[in-house]
């Protein structure tokens, strides 16, 4: 084969940087159900550092038949948990003495020699000391991520609280400042034909969100209005005289230059118009950009007039396709919010004892944002330049020259950012170690991704489970209601309805200590169904959906055929482990875990519900 690197196909998604973070991570799985082990499988394969399983189940018991020729042919639903008495040539353990934790650890570790697996077989998941197990696993808690699989809400609330607040009892998590060493948590469930994945993270900064259609940062508008902000580009533009070029040179001028020249030409026309009495001052004309629809159209016409043959000159065709880049600024809305709030975050965080929070007043993310804020203030609101330009029709030399100009400015901007960061250190430092070191690599990546910076912060599982909406009540209930107007083609299969039904099973467990449908007799099933339905009604009310049309015609339907249909179906499932559903859940959850660990791409904020009946899914933020 042409390469030795087994991670080649994934490096092309998250790079060496991301892979390094994966290799330094530790994933803790609580409850080795199929959904849990499937999640782990998809994390062991790409090369996490280590995993640790906490589980209270005994291993599958041996069939008891000592005859080695008789194969165990009872299907099992967990690919990594099976009696290895007669499997795969092994005759090692004697089956029944090993815990499920141990068996799962063994078969998962075997997938990838780069990964270390360990386990703690506890008496009961209800009473396990999660804090002490997690603390013993890693000195630097920031490498931990917890996956909680198929757990009842009482245990989930314990674990989610611990993860939300971090292992140190002295910190309380403030989602706005990110103070605390919280641990990201993925809650997964595979229940009959319904699956769910929910991420909990109070503060997850993202620099490399890698959006699909990121536009190049060409700075044409700013260069036109403030020529001093990018003198080299203007000099290049001025050095080219389009009229004097031979045709093969003319059609190889990069469109960046063409657009800048078109702007000059358009302004000349505007200035001339003003001289004939339309009232625009000459000075303003020099820095003006097309604003109205008419002006923009006019600009486009001016651009077309510069071409010698608009149908054949590729560079002019590209210029026309990208004409708006001559006067528009890249959208910075989401980033602007983060920039505006950084000083407040630091102020509040300074009230938290910095000695506890890794000795740092600010996290790296805030240092970078603060530096960005100061840089922008000094540069008419423009951030450091990314430095990359897209390919465009041009001669090799012309392109390389243009590319060099952008790269040089980006380098200069980055160096200035370095100075700003140093100054911040002086300003806030006061000699004590409260500013984290920002590595050159981190700064380079930051400067290349200014427009892509994001911050993900979810609500806590606790808040969701107790319907504690806080100030977000209207927003959340509004979004839930909206989800019902966007019903699936077969409205009964709308994922939100199944989310509610699944929640009702959790409520049933809280009430009875087991999931509905445990006792297979008809009367018991009926009674369980009725209880589940009661919980459905209750949850519907808490979500403000009692009068909702979709809900009334489905979950709350009184029609003979449809009455209690969801409750009946969930009772029929009795928390059955269907491997395919567990596998979908494991796929989604592991993907989110990778995003959390690598800090790239954007994780989910909400509950992902997979409805395996109709093959349809949705996300709801609660």
């Amino acid at each position: 084969m042409a390469t030795d690197n087994k991670y080649d196909r994934q490096l092309r998604l998250w790079g060496a940087n991301g892979q390094k973070k994966l290799s330094e991570s530790c994933i803790v799985l609580v409850n080795a159900t199929a959904a849990g082990t499937e999640t782990l499988k998809n994390l062991v394969l790409p090369g996490i550092g280590r995993f640790h399983i906490i589980d209270d189940s005994p291993g599958p018991t041996s069939s008891g038949n000592e005859n080695e020729n008789e194969k165990e042919s009872e299907p099992f639903s967990n690919f990594f948990v099976f009696d290895s008495h007669s499997k795969q040539g092994e005759n090692v353990d004697g089956g029944s003495n090993r815990s499920r934790a141990e068996i799962a650890t063994k078969h998962l570790s075997e997938l990838n020699p780069d990964v270390t697996g360990s386990f703690t077989a506890v008496e009961s998941l209800e009473s396990a000391d999660y804090s002490s197990i997690l603390s013993s696993l890693d000195q630097n808690h920031s490498n931990l991520l917890v996956v909680a699989a198929d757990l009842p809400s009482s245990i989930l609330q314990t674990i989610s609280s611990l993860c939300w607040n971090g292992l140190d009892p002295d910190t309380d998590t403030d989602t706005d400042t990110g103070a605390s060493t919280s641990i990201p948590l993925l809650i997964v469930k595979s229940y009959g034909l319904i699956g769910s994945v929910r991420l909990q993270t109070p503060h997850h900064p993202i620099v490399e969100s890698k959006p699909d259609n990121a536009n190049a940062d060409l700075r044409l508008a700013s260069t036109s209005v403030h020529p001093d902000s990018f003198p080299e580009l203007n000099a290049l533009k001025d050095s080219i005289n389009l009229e004097s070029l031979e045709s093969h040179e003319h059609n190889h001028v990069p469109y960046v230059i063409i657009l800048l020249k078109a702007m000059d030409l358009w302004r000349k026309q505007v200035a001339m118009a003003s001289e004939t009495g339309t009232g625009i001052g000459k000075e303003e004309a020099n820095t003006r950009l097309p604003k109205t629809f008419a002006e923009k159209n006019e600009f486009r016409k001016v651009l077309a007039s510069m071409a010698r043959n608009m149908n054949q000159e590729l560079n002019f065709i590209e210029a026309d396709k990208n004409y708006y880049m001559a006067y528009t600024k890249l959208d910075m809305e989401e980033v602007q919010e983060l920039i505006d709030s950084v000083e407040d975050r630091i102020r509040v965080r300074s009230k938290v004892n910095p000695a506890v929070v890794d000795n740092k007043l600010m996290c790296t993310f805030d240092v970078l944002l603060l530096a960005l804020k100061k840089f922008m203030l000094a540069h008419q609101g423009f951030p450091p330049l990314n430095g990359s330009i897209p390919d465009m029709a041009a001669s090799t030399q012309g392109y390389i020259e243009l590319q060099g100009i952008y790269k040089n400015k980006a380098q200069k901007d980055k160096e200035e950012m370095q100075h700003v960061i140093h100054a911040i250190g002086q300003e806030y430092g006061n000699g004590t170690n409260v500013i984290p070191n920002v590595s050159d690599e981190e700064l380079t990546i930051f400067c290349k991704n200014i427009y892509n910076i994001r911050l993900t912060k979810t609500r806590s599982y606790q808040q969701e489970y107790t319907f504690d909406f806080g100030d977000e009540k209207d927003e959340i209930m509004g979004e839930i209601a909206e989800a019902t107007y966007d019903a699936y083609e077969v409205p009964d299969q709308t994922p939100l309805l199944w989310f509610i039904a699944l929640r009702a099973c959790d409520a049933f467990y809280d009430q009875h200590g087991h999931y509905p449908g445990q006792d297979g007799r008809e009367l018991a099933l009926e009674s369980d169904t009725n209880d589940v339905q009661k919980h459905i009604v209750d949850i519907v009310e808490k979500l403000g959906l009692s009068e909702n049309e979709l809900v009334q015609s489905t979950l709350l339907s009184k029609e003979e055929e449809k009455k209690n249909a969801y409750a009946k179906e969930m009772t029929r499932y009795n928390n059955a482990e269907v491997h395919n559903i567990a596998s979908v859940v494991g796929g989604v959850a592991s993907q989110e875990a990778v995003k959390m660990i690598t800090g790239q791409y954007v994780p989910i904020d909400g509950n992902y519900i997979f409805n395996g009946i109709a093959g349809v899914a949705g996300i709801f933020k609660l």
Binding site: M1, A2, T3, N5, K6, D8, R9, Q10, L11, R12, L13, E38, K41, N42, L43, L45, P46, G47, S73, E74, P75, F76, S77, F79, F82, K87, G89, L193, V197, S209, K210, P211, D212, D391, A394, S395, T396, Y399, I400, H579, N580, A582, S583, V584, G586, G587, V588, Q591, E592, V594, Y601, V602, P603, I604, G606, Y608, I613, A614, G615, A617
Partner: protein
Amino acid sequence: MSNIPNVDVIDLDSIDVTNLNRQFLFRQKDVGSSKAEVAAKFINERCPWMKVTPHHGMIQDKDLNFYRSFNCIISGLDNVEARRWLNATVCSLVELDEDGDPDPETIIPIVDGGTEGFAGQARVILPRITSCFECSLDSFPPQKTFPLCTVAETPRLPEHCIAYAFTIQWPTVFPDKKLDSDSPDDMKWVYEKALIRSQKYDIEGVTYMLTMGVVKNIIPAVASTNAIVSAACVNETVKLLTFCSQTLNTYMMFMGKSGVYSHTFVYEKKDNCPVCSATVRKMQVSPKMTLNELLQTLRDGDLRLQAPSVTAATSGKTLYMQKPAALQKITKVNLDKKLNDLIEDGEELTITDPLFPGTSLGLSIFFEN
């Protein structure tokens, strides 16, 4: 894992080390061995109730009777041509009764899944009932290549230098040897030549990894997305085989870069789909068009055929046959003839192509005035 014991698996590939990050039935020691055989062995041992039968070879090596023997076909094929072939084959198995309705006994569902990085899709095809793969051909545009003049004369990107090395330099230096993208020696040669060219033009960025990506058109692949899509496919297969619940209607897509976006919708049948609809297409051409030019249109146009053969429908006269060699030699002479010398205005032609085994296309030619 759903207790469906009788499974046949066909794959022509051998295991590569770069498969190991996601293809979890294979280990380092299996590199170089047959995927089908190793996969079957692993499953049969881990899950003793299973009887997986491997076939190391191309899907095209099997005949209609082979495919006819299955209740459901799952496709994890990694290219459009193979999917088209499989789709046409399974669709051709459907028999129509006297009323022209498909006989349900002859309908074999195809469950098709594919992934690319963090995105993926799963779909259910019920031949003749739902849309088939060919109905959605437009959503798989032919692979874009770099313009020749850029590659040859004005390279700007490292990719252009790499393209030059493997599309122009290699065939010049090794006219009789096809580039083997799995050979480290061949790839090293391409990389070094690309590097030299890039240095000549002051272009940065040529790396071995980029070279591989460009030459092999590598699509990033990870365990998680593949798990989602394959599980979704199996979920549908189990439901199709057991009727225990409703099935996916008909197409589900996942996008996982930002959150998880899932969208399920009905992919509608295409009215004039060459595979699953019986309509005769109409084409207007210049009377001066030659038979060869028509064949070129069939290849390069929206039908995207591979190597079409043509017969006149009513007279049965063979106009051009790609195979067997003897027939090709005899009919070759027709290629340069004008169409209006070969057929009447409005005459229907029957087109066959290796992409559509067992089916033919009807095409009526009308001459422009």
